[in-house]
Subunit: 190 residues, 2 copies
């Protein structure tokens, strides 16, 4: 389990054997059942997550309905807004599959950065990359209609179509499941 | 002009007099006319921007139509996606008002960070803050209908309503100008 987080980090910064050892010796990993809630609306996020295995869904509840905003897979970090703002969370995080997740709280993260200062630039690079993705995602969501959004997923995020149930995907695309089925059959019939 | 960028930076990291002097001595500032294009689709962004005065609009051209995705005001940074990816830009940046802007290219930014290493953590903090804003903006755009999006602007970004012409605002909200007028009169009549 540890090796995957170290492999991931090594893409961004070179770790010495000692540094890899410090990371490996942390008891970072937690296992969660399918549908287990990691964070609920109104609660304070005390930790951030790195997904080793599984898929986590983020959603808001609005007018009694769940509205999916994102799905996170292996090798992705989840840094809840509430973790940063220290305000209650506006949204939920829930395990769409059984998950193995590395957990970091603020004190531990601070200590790790003291022991391995280059982790600071790792986090900076990751945030830069995430910022870029978020901006493009927002621009594309605004500029595209639901069919274009679906085609975009097909091209750029095939794991969304493989692993996310259609009713969750419809909510993520901002349409009903019936509309999504129509879009899918239109594309198949081309 | 220089003092505003130094005041802004001082919110995030404490600068010594020498460091402030290094920043002030840079010839960072450029003036642009209203409607001048800072970056065009298909071009490579070689610089990023910090707005001292004025407003910059970002937009895509789709099906021959301009689609606004963001507006940037005083004390905001603009780090074009193309600057980071080294790929041609998918969108335009254009001055909605006459602007005074501080410019940073990669070589200069690298040199400044060598001279004032704490600027690295400044940029990291700014990116963290921007990432948070982008995530919330995307979530809210997905979860809200146009009227809710407009009310959200009223509450959180009043400068958008003061300084952006209605037809640009309508495009930003993903609706026609007629729909926006209807929303505005519905709200006024309440």
């Amino acid at each position: 389990m540890d090796s995957s987080i170290i492999d991931y980090i090594s893409q961004f910064v070179k770790l010495t054997d000692d540094e890899a050892e410090i990371l490996s010796s942390q008891n970072l990993f937690r296992q969660y059942e399918k549908n287990e809630i990691l964070l609920a609306e109104g609660k304070y996020a005390k930790v951030c997550y790195f997904i080793i295995k599984g898929c986590v869904r983020s959603y808001y509840i609005k007018d009694g309905e769940e509205r999916n905003t994102d799905f996170f897979f292996e090798n992705q970090t989840i840094r809840p807004v509430s973790y940063q703002t220290k305000q209650p969370s506006e949204y939920y995080l829930s395990c769409l599959e059984e998950c193995i997740v590395a957990i970091g709280d603020e004190a531990r993260n601070r200590k790790l950065v003291e022991q391995i200062p280059k982790l600071f630039s790792l986090v900076a690079k990751m945030n830069e990359e995430l910022l870029l993705q978020k901006q493009l995602e927002l621009d594309h969501f605004k500029n595209n209609n639901p069919e274009e959004r679906y085609l975009n997923l097909l091209e750029n995020k095939p794991e969304f179509l493989d692993r996310i149930p259609l009713y969750h995907l419809a909510s993520y695309l901002g349409i009903t499941q019936v509309s999504l089925s129509r879009i899918r059959s239109r594309i198949l019939n081309r």
